[in-house]
């Protein structure tokens, strides 16, 4: 059996949080976000841990200013894991204030 690495676990945590936040709105919203990430950035949801700016951009294009509350919801889901460095960086990067200054690793 393969062991999941730390980064894979963090990606899974982030994916579950994002899915939960979007499923609260509706399944087609999750599908559209996943599809836009794939079409525009050739990226899957777990990859957003490394590229939070893609996720932020897709949500912004879909819901405009209203996406900030979806981001808040993701924050709420991930707050318990904010002590993990990658998760903390992800949360900082998608937060509306820091998105413009964030540089991906």
């Amino acid at each position: 059996m393969l062991d999941a690495t730390g980064i894979e676990i963090k990606k899974a945590l982030m994916t579950i949080s994002l899915e939960e936040a979007l499923l609260e709105i509706g399944r087609p919203v999750l599908d559209e976000v996943a599809y836009s990430l794939y079409v525009n950035y050739q990226c899957f949801i777990p990859d957003c841990l490394d590229h939070p700016e893609y996720l932020k951009q897709v949500l912004q294009e879909l819901y405009g200013d209203g996406c900030s509350n979806i981001i808040k919801s993701i924050h709420k889901h991930l707050d318990g894991f904010a002590s993990m460095q990658e998760i903390e960086e992800f949360l900082l990067a998608i937060s509306p204030i820091t998105i413009h200054s964030y540089q991906p690793r």
Binding site: L23, E24, G26, R27, V29, Q60, E61, D65, S68, N69
Partner: protein, 268 residues
């Protein structure tokens, strides 16, 4: 890129539809009230059917789960209630040769408003944290201006008219003003987003509806209203604009199972 092109084509098609329906009803009026009545009744059929059809498609896509799923079910109920109201109105026009006011149709139209209101609430619910006092204030202010203008204009009409007729007629602009509040909030909330198109159209449609309802109030109370009257074009536009708004939403939240990437489950 493809989204922008699709959006631009949709806007063009909406403008053409609005211009065409307006022109058709205008020309029909030139041929007399009977022609205007037939054309108007005919136009109501495709526009109301289209709204129900797009509402069924979007409701089916979202299902019952999630806030937007519930919202679209409520919108479908609203569309069906208004569809029934239009058919009752058509029935009275065909059998009696005139529109009764108030009639059972008004009960269905008025019953549709709470569902439309709750639809807007459920839709903006996931973004409620972003609704600031400023947004609420602007929405309330616009709605109050619209409502007081309507009430001020219609105040004199109250004298010497049937109370039931007047209260039914005045209920429409009041309901429109109430619906306008969450519609403006939604439009401001989703500014810059693709879903904003629906909310912008919704605001325009509700303003058209308010003007139409006020016009209808005047015409109905002084017995000058006939099927195919100038206010009918605004009612028809209301359905057209809503239909395009919902259709645009269908194009945003497509069923991607048929799209280039083979298996959506791979993305999760």
């Amino acid at each position: 890129m493809q989204n922008n092109l699709q959006h631009s084509n949709l806007k063009k098609f909406l403008s053409i539809t609005i211009a065409a329906t307006g022109l058709v009803l205008l020309i029909a009026n030139l041929f007399g009230k009977d022609t205007a009545s037939i054309i108007s009744l005919t136009l109501y059929i495709p526009v109301t059917v289209s709204l129900v059809v797009v509402s069924i498609i979007i409701s089916k896509r979202f299902g019952f789960k999630g806030d937007h799923g519930k919202a679209w079910i409520l919108f479908l109920i609203f569309a069906i209630l208004w569809f029934i109201a239009e058919r009752i109105s058509l029935y009275y026009n065909l059998t009696l040769g005139e529109e009764l006011f108030p009639s059972e149709a008004d009960a269905f139209w008025l019953a549709g408003y709470p569902f439309l209101f709750v639809f807007t609430i459920f839709y903006i619910k996931p973004m409620k944290g972003m609704i600031t006092k400023k947004i609420i204030f602007v929405a309330l202010a616009i709605s109050i201006i619209v409502l007081t203008s309507t009430l001020y204009i219609t105040y004199d009409q109250n004298i010497g008219t049937n109370l039931l007729e007047f209260s039914t007629a005045i209920a429409y602009p009041i309901a429109d003003a109430i619906i306008l509040v969450p519609a403006i909030i939604g439009m401001m909330l989703f500014l810059g987003g693709r879903v904003n198109f629906l909310w912008s159209l919704m605001c325009i449609a509700i303003i058209f509806e308010t003007i139409a309802d006020t016009g209808y109030l005047f015409a109905a109370l002084d017995d000058t209203y006939y099927q195919g009257h100038a206010v009918d074009v605004l009612f028809i536009w209301y359905y057209v604009i809503f239909t395009f708004g919902v259709y645009h939403h269908i194009t945003i939240f497509k069923d991607h199972r048929k799209d280039p990437y083979k298996n959506i489950e791979d993305l999760r």
